[in-house]
Amino acid sequence: MSTTTELRKDTGTPDSAEETLLELCSMHVFYGAIEALKGIDLTVRKGEIVALLGGNGAGKTTTLRTISGMLQPRQGEVRYRGERIDGIKSHELVQFGIGHVPEGRRVFAAMTVRDNLEMGAYRFSSVDPADMDRVFTLFPRLAERRSQLAGTLSGGEQQMLAIGRALMGEPELLLLDEPSMGLAPLIVQQIFEIIEEINKQGTTVLLVEQNATQALGLANRGYVLETGSVAMSGPAAELLSDPRIREAYLGEGAA
């Protein structure tokens, strides 16, 4: 896609500063000499589901990894509740209430389902049984398999476990990196319903997806990344009906 004119300027200017949870301000991230993110601006407000879309290598994972402190921006800022959090290590950042479900699930394969969930609550001095119950209510399949080793779960179950594990840390903001990756449509449907449910229960969500239709169907707003820059952004409904999005991500011919 060479015509990367912006659909509109970032509409994410919050109505009031209080509402803004996460703010990326012209964030540049490098891998060695390679500039993976070339000045990203992005805002997530409390209570929203924001979709972060883009093709392979666009920089979606890099964005999430920078938010959770695994990478440091060379330029620009990451703000959470107005406070600068870039430069804070990921294990300290958890205390801010940011949960991250990494790309490829990355459950602790040699631990049981229960141990994985307990790991999710590592930041607390003890595991809150209410959190465990909540996860098992959201994902009854995990409850049945609580003593099973995570490595022996199916892909869909592992994704559920990865989400459940992040929920055990009681996140205020949940970062989800391609939860639909490699899953059958029916399971994807289920996972997306659960994400909606989690959001309704009060967790703000930043959802990275390649699956643009489904992600925008769920989201309030969306951003489209292209080779490290925000190419488009706006309300989900507008993005869904934008011909360029339809062409590039929904596999339709030029409008």
């Binding site: 959770s68 695994m70 290590k89 990921s90 294990h91 958890v94 205390q95 991250h100 990494p102 990355r106 602790f108 394969a109 040699a110 631990m111 141990d115 307990e118 790991m119 999710g120 590592y122 930041r123 594990r165 840390g169």
Partner: protein, 307 residues
């Protein structure tokens, strides 16, 4: 070999093996969290032995101590070895390995650093403590206390075996039942994700070294109690225990225990069958055979499956 000889050597082998197991755990734990072979672990073992020697020289047990006094001397010696072992391992990680991790150094650099640290430490010990082997001062009057299948077991042997077993049980509990243990297992499986869950990786790595160091240090004391203390004493037991860790499956704690006991038995049995000069050779033969037919070790390389 008569049946009686068989029992005699088997008992000896299991006891020696328990010591190898404790040392092997030190290699396997560190490998688990950092995928690093800490070749300087043999020096942790050696310095642990010096720790007990120094403490015993300070308190200098006289002749014929009472039972209570004997227990006290043993406890102090053990504490000294644990302290020296733990501090040495902690310092090694801080000074030698952590700066390399910060820079994301390639694996080979870690290996060379480990070997360099080992050379440095044993030469330092030779310089500080002298190059002549020294016996530990006598803490109790050693005598046979019972016999197992007709094989006599004395206090020193019992102390060695019982301490090794207790340490392994405690370690197993720490790794499988405590929050630190859970952190260790998580870091071993996926350090980055463990960090996302709030695990302070540096802290977990540091504590893992300390745990391995305490085990290795106390093993040094137990070994010195049977033999002597010297600045080169770490090399052969260190290499043998490393072989045991690989035989059991490096990264796998129960594998290290199993490999240790197996190599202890094989080594000891070699003496009556082939002669004392084949002892160390036999451990390496076991290693080579295992690597040929089961490269991941007998119980399987299981990074993170710490148990």
């Amino acid at each position: 070999m008569s049946l009686q000889e068989f029992w005699d050597y088997l008992v000896l082998g299991v006891m020696l093996g328990s010591l190898y197991a404790v040392i092997a755990i030190g290699y396997t734990l560190v490998y688990g969290v950092l995928q690093l072979i800490n070749f300087a672990h043999s020096e942790v073992f050696m310095l642990g032995a010096y720790g007990s020697l120094i403490v015993l020289q300070l308190v200098s047990p006289g002749d014929n101590p009472s039972v209570m006094a004997s227990i006290g001397f043993v406890a102090l010696a053990m504490a000294g070895s644990a302290l020296f072992g733990g501090v040495t391992a902690y310092g090694l990680e801080k000074v030698a390995y952590r700066p390399l991790r910060r820079r994301g150094a390639p694996r080979l650099i870690f290996l060379i650093t480990a070997i360099g640290a080992s050379f440095f430490l044993y030469n330092l010990a030779g310089k500080l403590f002298g190059r002549d082997p020294l016996p530990l001062p006598e803490m109790y009057e050693n005598r046979e206390i019972f016999s197992l299948f007709g094989a006599g077991v004395n206090i020193t042997q019992l102390l060695q075996f019982a301490t090794a077993v207790v340490m392994m049980v405690l370690l197993d509990l720490v790794v499988n039942r405590t929050k630190l243990g859970m952190g260790i297992r998580a870091v071993a499986q996926d350090a980055e994700v463990a960090g996302l869950m709030g695990v302070n990786i540096d802290k977990v790595v540091s504590r893992t070294f300390i745990i391995g160091g305490v085990l290795g240090g106390v093993a040094g004391f137990l070994f010195a109690n049977l033999n002597q203390v010297s600045y080169t004493m770490g090399f052969i037991p260190g290499i043998t225990a490393f072989a045991a860790a690989v035989v059991g499956g490096i990264g796998n704690i129960r594998g290290a225990m199993f490999g240790g006991v197996l190599i202890g038995i094989v080594e000891t049995m070699t003496v009556p069958l082939l002669g004392d000069e084949w002892r160390s050779v036999s451990a390496m033969v076991v290693l080579i055979l295992v690597l040929m037919f089961r490269p991941m070790g007998i119980l399987g390389e299981r990074v993170g499956r710490a148990a």
